[in-house]
C-alpha cells in the first residue's frame, strides 16, 4: 500500500510517497509518474521518500526509468529524506551515483534547481 501526493512548481514535479514501495505498487507508481510527466511539461523530478520505509528493485527500476526520460532533456531527479534502510538499498543499486540526495525538498530545490 502506498500513498502518493503530486505537486508541480515551475519546471519541477514534486512527488511525496508514503508506504512500502515494492512489486505490488510498481505498476501504479510507473503509470502515475508517466501520466503526470506526459501531461505536464516539467524538466525535473523531486521524489520525497521520507515516509517510505521499504523499497525493492522493481520500484528502483521505475525511478531509474523516469530518470532516463528526464535526463535525455537535461532534467534531474533528486531523492529527498531517505530513511536508513532505503538509503542503503539506493546506495547498493548505484542510484545515488546518478541522482542527488537531499535532506529536505528546499535543499533539493536550492542545490539542484
Amino acid at each position: 500500500m502506498v500513498e502518493l501526493d503530486l505537486e508541480i512548481r515551475q519546471d519541477t514535479l514534486f512527488v511525496r510517497l508514503e508506504g512500502e514501495l515494492d512489486l505490488g505498487v510498481a505498476d501504479f507508481l510507473r503509470n502515475t509518474l508517466e501520466g503526470s510527466l506526459n501531461k505536464n511539461p516539467v524538466r525535473h523530478l523531486v521524489l520525497n521518500l521520507s515516509r517510505v520505509s521499504y523499497i525493492d528493485s522493481s520500484c528502483l527500476g521505475v525511478i531509474l526509468g523516469r530518470y532516463k526520460r528526464l535526463a535525455r532533456e537535461g532534467g534531474r531527479v533528486s531523492l529527498v529524506g531517505l530513511q536508513p534502510h532505503v538509503r542503503r538499498i539506493c546506495e547498493l543499486s548505484g542510484l545515488l551515483r546518478i541522482m542527488g540526495e537531499y535532506t529536505t525538498e528546499e535543499e533539493a530545490v536550492a542545490k539542484a534547481g
Partner: protein
C-alpha cells in the same frame, strides 16, 4: 543441524503477496536471535525472490503457485522460494550484477540477495521451474550484544 521450527507456505503469484511474504517470513524468523537489521535483510531477500517468481517465473500470470519454506535451526534460517514457472536458461548469467532479461528491470534482485544473505543457491530448469535457497546465519556476537537492549 537441529531443526527448531519449520514453516511451509504457498500462495498465488499476485504482486500483493510480495509484501505478505516478507512480513510473514520475518515474523517467523524472529523466533531466532536475529537482530532487527538481520530481519530487515531477510525481508529484502524474500521480497526479491518472490517478486522474481511472479515476474519472471510466471510472467505476471496471477494463477501460478509460489512456495516458501522456512527452516529455523540453532545456527540460522534456511529460506527456500520455489515456482513452477518458465525456469532460467543460464543460471550463471542470471546471477551476474545488472543482468536482466527484462529491459525495464535493473538486474539487482540477485545482487541484493547475495549482499544480504550468507548463502545463495539457485536450481532451475526450463521444464521444472526455479528453486532459490538462501541461508542467513546468526551472528552470535551481534546477537549477544543486542541482548543488552532487551
Amino acid at each position: 543441524m537441529k531443526v527448531v521450527n519449520q514453516l511451509k507456505m504457498e500462495f498465488l503469484s499476485v504482486p500483493e503477496n510480495v509484501a505478505f511474504a516478507r512480513v510473514a517470513v520475518a515474523a517467523f524468523a524472529s523466533q531466532l536471535d536475529f537482530t532487527i537489521n538481520d530481519l530487515e535483510e531477510i525481508k529484502v531477500a524474500v521480497s526479491e525472490a518472490v517478486a522474481n517468481a511472479i515476474v519472471h517465473g510466471y510472467e505476471n500470470s496471477p494463477t501460478g503457485i509460489v512456495r516458501v519454506t522456512v527452516t529455523l535451526m540453532e545456527t540460522g534460517a534456511e529460506i527456500r522460494v520455489e515456482d513452477n514457472g518458465k525456469g532460467i536458461a543460464d543460471v550463471k548469467k542470471a546471477l551476474e550484477p545488472a543482468f536482466s532479461t527484462d529491459p525495464e528491470r535493473m538486474g539487482l534482485g540477485f545482487v541484493f540477495i547475495q549482499s544480504f544473505m550468507d548463502r545463495l543457491h539457485v536450481d532451475s530448469s526450463p521444464a521444472g521451474g526455479t528453486r532459490v535457497t538462501m541461508i542467513k546465519t546468526i551472528n552470535r556476537g551481534a546477537a549477544a550484544a543486542s541482548q543488552g537492549g532487551h
